[in-house]
């Protein structure tokens, strides 16, 4: 075949083939692992947080191409954000940054948002002083 066709757009394919921030963080300050009841995918995000800001992020994903790409993109986007900013993170940011996902795969980006928020909750549980003012955001339903 002379031409190559892809299931997803080139940004999604790039993040699937060359995932950014893949792995675990030694001495992570917050770790979140969530699963999608709908399809069975599982995503884990680890965060390093310093002075109220996300210094580093890593992911591991058991899931399809768009789930891997979503978690890769989510970890890219949240690095450098404050906890408050990260609490307001939305899956739509992942979808937009990836240049769109097929409708049936939008839930993969929701899973990335949930994993991030689970990791933040884990951090807040361990460091209640870090977010004295802001309430912990409820994870959105899948």
């Amino acid at each position: 075949m002379s031409e190559t066709y892809t299931l997803y757009n080139s940004t999604v394919m790039d993040h699937f083939m060359n995932p950014r921030n893949m792995g675990d963080l030694k001495d992570a300050d917050g770790v979140g692992e969530v699963g999608a009841a709908a399809c069975g995918d599982i995503m884990k995000i680890s965060l390093k947080i310093k002075d109220g800001r996300i210094e580093d992020a890593r992911f591991k994903t058991f899931g399809c191409g768009s789930a891997i790409a979503s978690s890769s993109m989510a970890t890219e986007l949240i690095k450098g954000r404050t906890i408050d900013e990260a609490m307001n993170f939305s899956n739509q940011e992942v979808v937009d940054a990836l240049g769109g996902l097929p409708p049936v795969k939008i839930h993969c980006s929701v899973l990335a948002e949930e994993a991030l928020k689970a990791a933040l909750e884990d951090y807040v549980k361990k460091h209640p002083e870090a977010v004295a003012s802001s309430a912990v955001a409820e994870p959105v339903a899948a």
Binding site: M17, G40, K60, F62, C64, I68, V104
Partner: protein, 421 residues
Amino acid sequence: MRQVYLDHQASTPVRPEVFEAMRPYFTEAFGNPSSLHQHGLRVREALKKAREQMAALINADSGEEIFFTSDGTESANLAIKGVAYANERRGKHLVVSATEHPSVMQSVEFLERQGWTCTRVAVDAEGLVNVQELSQAITPQTTLVAVHHVNHDIGAIQPIREVGRLCGEKGVPLYVDCEASAGWLPVDVREFGAALASFSPHRFYGPKGVGVLYRNRRARLVSILHGGVQEGGRRAGTENVPAIVGGGLAAELSLTELPRRISHTAALQARLWEGLQRRVPYIRLNGPPPGPKRISTNLNLSTEFIEGEGQLLLCDLNGIAVASGSSCVSKSLKISHVLSAIGLDHALAQGNLIMTLGMANTEEDVDYTIETFARIVEKLRAMSPMWDEFQRGLIDSVIAPTGRGKSFAQHAADVSGKAAH
């Protein structure tokens, strides 16, 4: 990059001689077989020959028992609905195996919404239907039993002769979906005791756009597509003449080549499965082991701790074309109903990959696939939280339990709030 096509269950290339045989029927012999002039009569002869070629492939009595449809799905719809409607006054009960193709399952569901009832007979862990249970499911109101010959997902060969004998004793017509077997395994409708059977030439080096439904003269069948009196009044609509001519030749070539097809694919199947087991830990074969209960073309695999769509994408990027029954591949986000029916653990169904062999595949293709797949599995496992948690003893393997950690299903339920499925 080496290109390895391992999805022959989805479709096959048209053989050059088949394509050549079709060519005149597009341009020169373009007539409508229903026309009464030379143009029509010429192609009518061609259809008659194709009917005989199709009949020979499945050992039917004559070409008159062959009806042309557009594809396997239409054949299944015609078989199920056509027999159900024809026997409506006798009874409104159907019996099917739980692992029929969606075209059968959905046709049955359609009839259920119109007042029919249907018994779905369970299959065992290898995917084989229990003939005893099937026998108990048949009632005096049953007007059709549907059991496929070979499963399209897991390659299981059903005890179809036993099923046929049973249906014969009970006097209920049997429809046998031979879509996954015709052209690759002997099909004998008389030996099967089949009243109806279907197959599609594009699965054995013929063209798409034609499906075949065999109907024994004694089985009542009404049309579900209304219009002109084509196909003995059982299927209205102008026949796809070029595809039928090509399909007929593909059937004839298949019959001659059958022993070679079986020996070629069986050798590659054994080599592929043996190599994958050697190179990939925590992998299992779904369905019966290679041998008399499994078609020689199919391997249905579950690789633990990773998901199937990712495997499929990376295979494709490495030139290897495969299929998957994972929920991530399905538009409904559900795992293959066949994998559910054999009771496969959800995590294993998620990690599903289907490889189907054909005549163009070589030993070199198989060896390349084994090595490439082993690398793909390593790459995806490095990304998987489940693999890491297994290494740390937090969750256990389904394929080779260590006795450490909780089950994957339990873990998935814990992190997602409710169980998948």
